[in-house]
Point group: C2
């Protein structure tokens, strides 16, 4: 991959899908999880800020920037639960990586597919550090866009062998089960949430309603379980009953953001939580015993997108799955932007 | 212009230049100024937030979002004064307009050229409302990338007939004078700042050093002058001596941002300033008499970019100066992102 001064590599949705398949979906998930782990290990280095959200009655548009001092990344992402009914994606996203030293973009990419990959990879990283070592069975509550990615990531990275599916919409469960055929996972479709979590070592909730729902109630959750609560990711949107939170040790990405957006918005502002990165560096013990309930209250943080952007950028070193976009004005003399504009007029006249 | 669900119109640098010439540079400046005036008139409607800046030792990368409740826009922009020495632009930018109702992007565009146009258009709007009606002569201090745009915007919109140029680098002045040939402006190149502002009704400063400089000292500025201070736009970067500020009536875009980034960072946090939009709506009188010194402390605000993005979007209704980017994942079933990914694998195998 070569980058001219005035052009920026762009990865379209089609190219992102092809890049993923060239790598293999599970291998891509594992590679991205590796980038996320690497970045979580150097967490204190990053410029961190809660995402910049613009809320409307029907959804939210967010910008999620971060920087490690050498590279700068941000993601544009929307969340519109009602979109599904209109045949649109709930979440679409794109992102950018730039060089801190010059401010010039070095990568523009779709991030709808990429966010699906990185969200699942993040759950897998959390699960790897927090679930019981002998965990083999996972319940997947909510069988929408993110469900297959979650199942495959935990299969590949955490050794999950069985996934138990439940969704209030049986069609979603059918779709998910069909998509997971041939992946090596044992897939069990369940008629109730209760049935899905019976015997599960890991429970992942990923539902999309923008409201305080109660996907899991307290009596459903047994000792020793690890929970990934992925779907509660904005103010007023939670999935778990408060009593489960009170019984769990809670792990988060960035407390300042999670207290606003995550399950813990139901708790007091000073309720103790542990930052996941400190478990990964070994500063804090994650799981202490086999009876403990661990809860990863995942809302998605800018550093995970940064990791995913770095993964794409590195893949493009050996892949041609990109186009070059004429996105940066590059006059011969940088102070002569106007002259560049005038010369374009001459070219138009000559053509 | 038609927009598929999965594609987004993209305006490259080349297409932005061609769109500008199709319209005519001065006409484009006037049209954009019109959009800015319209948006300033409905200022209270907008979601406003100071830009989200990531500073490094050599520059800054910023995201500037805003929304009027129907459309959402943001700009990515860097500011790296040292870039010029490396043959790079000090400022490069791109931006996006999205539909608030769905969160889907409707326009992606280069904004380096567009920012140059909107910055000049904004100065012209401020000058139109604040300068003396009989103003004909303008001093342009700093003859870099922005200078010709400023001169042309004030020529077209405010009736300026003569521009007096000064830059510490005579080559920049030579470049600017050359570029302004044939525009109808009388161009006078000056050897000192003092010479440039002699007899000027309007003084525009636009220099790029990231430091507290003193481009204008107090004794240089006479009664009745209007000043556009454009170059001081980040913490630690100012152009005017504090004493000039003390003698001026100061007009700003968004006080919360300008107090951090503008000339008024030199003043007390409660120093009185007037918001430009209130002058435009007529709520507050701008210029009261011919002796008053008015100062527009312009730092550039997200709403001006929003106006410029709206202008581009509207131009594309009758122009084909765009490409369609495959930027949004659009599965047939919005919950079946994974299925879309699987089908791409089948297509790759079939090809």
């Amino acid at each position: 991959m070569t980058t001219d001064l005035n052009t920026v590599p762009f990865v379209s949705v089609e190219n992102m899908m092809r890049l993923t398949h060239e790598t293999g979906i599970e291998e891509a998930l594992a590679e991205i999880a590796g980038y996320i782990e690497d970045d979580f290990r150097r967490w204190p280095l990053f410029d961190k800020t809660p995402r910049v959200a613009s809320h409307s009655e029907v959804g939210v548009i967010e910008l999620m920037p971060t920087s490690d001092g050498t590279e700068y990344g941000f993601k544009y992402v929307n969340g519109h639960p009602k979109n599904t009914k209109e045949g649109l994606q709930t979440v679409t996203a794109f992102g950018l990586l730039a060089d801190v030293d010059t401010g010039y973009p070095v990568l523009l990419t779709e991030m709808t597919v990429l966010t699906a990959l990185r969200t699942a990879a993040t759950s897998a990283v959390a699960t790897k550090y927090l679930a019981r070592r002998d965990a083999k069975v996972m319940a997947m509550i909510g069988n929408g866009s993110q469900s297959e990615f979650q199942a495959l990531a935990l299969h590949k990275i955490c050794g999950i062998e069985e996934v138990r599916l439940f969704d209030t919409d049986p069609n979603a469960t059918r779709k998910c089960a069909e998509n997971l055929k041939g992946t090596g996972l044992r897939v069990v479709s369940c008629a109730t949430g209760q049935e899905a979590i019976e015997g599960a070592d890991i429970i992942t909730t990923c539902t999309a309603d923008k409201q305080n729902a109660t996907i899991l109630t307290d009596n459903m959750v047994g000792a020793g379980v690890h929970i990934n609560a992925i779907g509660g990711d904005c103010p007023g949107k939670t999935e778990l009953h408060r009593d489960i939170l009170m019984r769990s040790d809670i792990f988060v990405e960035y407390p300042e953001q999670t207290r606003i957006e995550g399950e813990i918005q139901q708790l007091a502002q000073d309720h103790p939580v542990t930052e996941l990165w400190q478990v990964i560096t070994g500063e804090i013990t994650g799981r202490r015993d086999d009876r403990q309930i661990t809860l990863f209250d995942g809302v998605g943080f800018a550093i995970e997108d940064f990791s995913a952007l770095r993964w794409v950028r590195d893949k493009l070193r050996t892949s041609n799955r990109f186009d070059m976009l004429d996105m940066i004005a590059d006059p011969d003399d940088p102070r002569d932007l106007f002259g560049m504009l005038l010369r374009e007029k001459q070219r138009m006249a000559a053509a």
